[in-house]
């Protein structure tokens, strides 16, 4: 799905913050992306999400060279990638249902075609009774689950989650991890950016460890 060959990244004329990255993310795989703060996790996620271009090397996304992608190609590719942000990025003026349905609304689907799917997913993530609630009244865990539901409602092939357990207590973190594992079991590749070692011990998986801009892969 993703292939990085000798990828390097620098912002402007600054130092190279990602160096010689070589790894692959296969279909139905599960991996952690870890490393200390400032190691470049967020930048790597941005590369994975086609938000920025590398300064050198080759990134292949779903078999296509990322450097040759045109502006109009990006939305269709992004629909195949689900993203859960650390700060959730839910729209405060939309209900939980509308936030989750947004991913289907933007592709032009009529509501009667996705309504039951959204409600089913919201029930699945335990937000069935919060469908009409607005994000400002949701708890951190509820927001996190709504963000996850929005990321997976369009059946993405890969899910990228940036510190999904960073704002929640350990029991909820474990429950969210089980949710990701279940999604992976259903066929979605998962990349979880985290530095929560306890969490990684509970569900050992392939680890992409960033250290000073270099990546070590532990299968």
């Amino acid at each position: 799905m993703f292939r990085f060959d000798n990828v390097g990244l620098r912002y402007g004329m600054g130092p190279e913050i990602l160096r010689d990255l070589n790894f692959r993310i296969g279909p139905r795989s599960f991996q952690y992306l870890t490393g200390p703060s400032g190691a470049g996790k967020s930048s790597l996620l941005r590369l994975l999400f086609l938000s920025i271009q590398p300064t050198r090397g080759l990134i292949s996304v779903f078999g296509r060279d990322a450097s040759t992608l045109r502006h109009n190609d990006l939305p269709r590719l992004r629909r195949r990638i689900g993203v859960v942000f650390q700060d959730f990025r839910l729209l405060d003026h939309l209900t939980t249902y509308e936030n989750v349905a947004l991913a289907l609304r933007v592709v032009g689907k009529p509501e009667q075609r996705y309504r039951s799917d959204v409600l089913e997913l919201l029930n699945w993530v335990g937000l069935g009774d919060r469908i009409n609630a607005y994000p400002p009244v949701l708890s951190g865990g509820e927001k996190q689950r709504a963000a996850i539901a929005r990321a997976v409602i369009g059946h993405p092939e890969i899910l990228l989650a940036d510190e999904p357990t960073g704002n929640v207590d350990p029991p909820l973190a474990r429950r969210l991890l089980r949710l990701f594992v279940e999604l992976n079991r259903l066929g979605t590749s998962v990349v979880i950016a985290t530095h929560d070692t306890d969490l990684m011990r509970q569900f050992p998986a392939r680890t992409l460890a960033l250290e000073d801009g270099r990546l070590n892969v532990h299968d």
């Binding site: 309504r115 409600l119 699945w124």
Partner: protein
């Protein structure tokens, strides 16, 4: 706040909750996030100025056409009192030539009293014109403007000693050029107003995009195409443009009506007669009102299209 449990069981359809969801999708871009009132005011002012311009142009054009048709409906034959020429006989001869010409409805010589009335503003009341060498004037009414040949009539009239045909061409040409200048100036003002509207909408749209950066960013991440984002913003700006445009047009229409009414009330006074002589009844007419409505819709469309193009441009810059 208590956490609701996560169900990591198999996905299944759970009925019941669906009916509790409120109906009607919320707008993705909240209307109150766009500085709507200020933009409506700007668009309304622009629309008002554009409508005034359209009204003024139709008014002047209408008045100019009235003057032209009045002037073109008659021509004048002037017979100078030359030495050795019998003025009365020359007048009769010229009258005969005029009446016999094709397309002429009638011709009559002005009486001494009418001549004196024409000179009254310069020479005063109670003038005895019998001893003065005043030219005789023949008013020729044109019946069929297509059939009449003024050049041939002029040549025929010139055969009469001291006679000349005045077809008022100089005046009509001046009127025509004045009306044309008014239309050109009107178009220039309209272009300036539309340009100012476009620039205001560009600034407002860019402000709205920057203010809603978080929404635009989320829409990008979930795979929204540019046309979708543009449509969400364009929808708001079309409504704002329509509101502002109609408000301005309504203001202009009210002003037209007030001026028309005011002219009606002072119509009998000397000022009223003078203004009426220039602009007729000062009624903008259905063309002016229709033009104002058209301007309102054109401004609304300009607002929507400008915001759409601005959004596309902005998205290409930020991505």
């Amino acid at each position: 706040m208590t956490e609701t449990p996560i169900k990591t069981a198999r996905l299944r359809l759970i009925p019941g909750r669906a009916s509790q969801r409120r109906s009607g999708a919320s707008p993705i871009v909240p209307p109150n996030s766009i500085a709507g009132t200020a933009l409506i005011a700007v668009v309304a002012i622009m629309s008002f100025l554009a409508c005034l311009t359209v009204g003024a142009v139709t008014l002047v054009q209408g008045a100019a056409e009235d003057w032209q048709s009045d002037i073109l409906r008659e021509v004048t034959i002037q017979i100078l009192p030359l030495d050795g020429v019998d003025l009365a006989a020359a007048t009769e001869r010229a009258l005969g030539i005029a009446r016999a010409a094709p397309g002429i409805a009638g011709a009559r010589a002005l009486s001494d009293a009418e001549n004196a009335a024409l000179l009254e503003p310069w020479l005063g009341l109670g003038l005895d014109t019998t001893d003065l060498p005043i030219p005789r004037l023949i008013v020729v009414e044109i019946g069929d403007t297509e059939a009449v040949d003024l050049a041939a009539l002029g040549t025929a009239v010139a055969a009469v000693p001291g006679a000349a045909l005045d077809d008022h061409r100089m005046w009509t040409e001046r009127l025509r050029s004045m009306a044309n200048v008014t239309v050109v100036v009107g178009f220039a003002v309209l272009i300036l107003v539309f340009a100012a509207t476009i620039m205001s909408v560009v600034f407002a749209t860019r402000g709205a995009m920057a203010g809603n950066g978080a929404i635009v960013s989320v829409l990008h991440f979930i795979g929204a195409e540019d046309w979708f984002v543009a449509r969400e913003f364009q929808r708001h700006f079309l409504v704002l443009g329509l509101k502002g445009g109609l408000l301005g047009a309504f203001g202009a229409a009210v002003l037209f009506a007030i001026l028309s009414f005011a002219m009606g009330t002072i119509g009998e006074s000397p000022e009223g007669i003078q203004v009426s002589a220039l602009f007729g009844s000062f009624a903008v007419g259905p063309g002016g009102y229709f033009g104002a409505l058209l301007v309102a819709f054109v401004i609304a469309v300009i607002t929507a299209v400008t915001s759409r193009l601005t959004v596309f441009r902005y998205l290409r810059e930020v991505r």
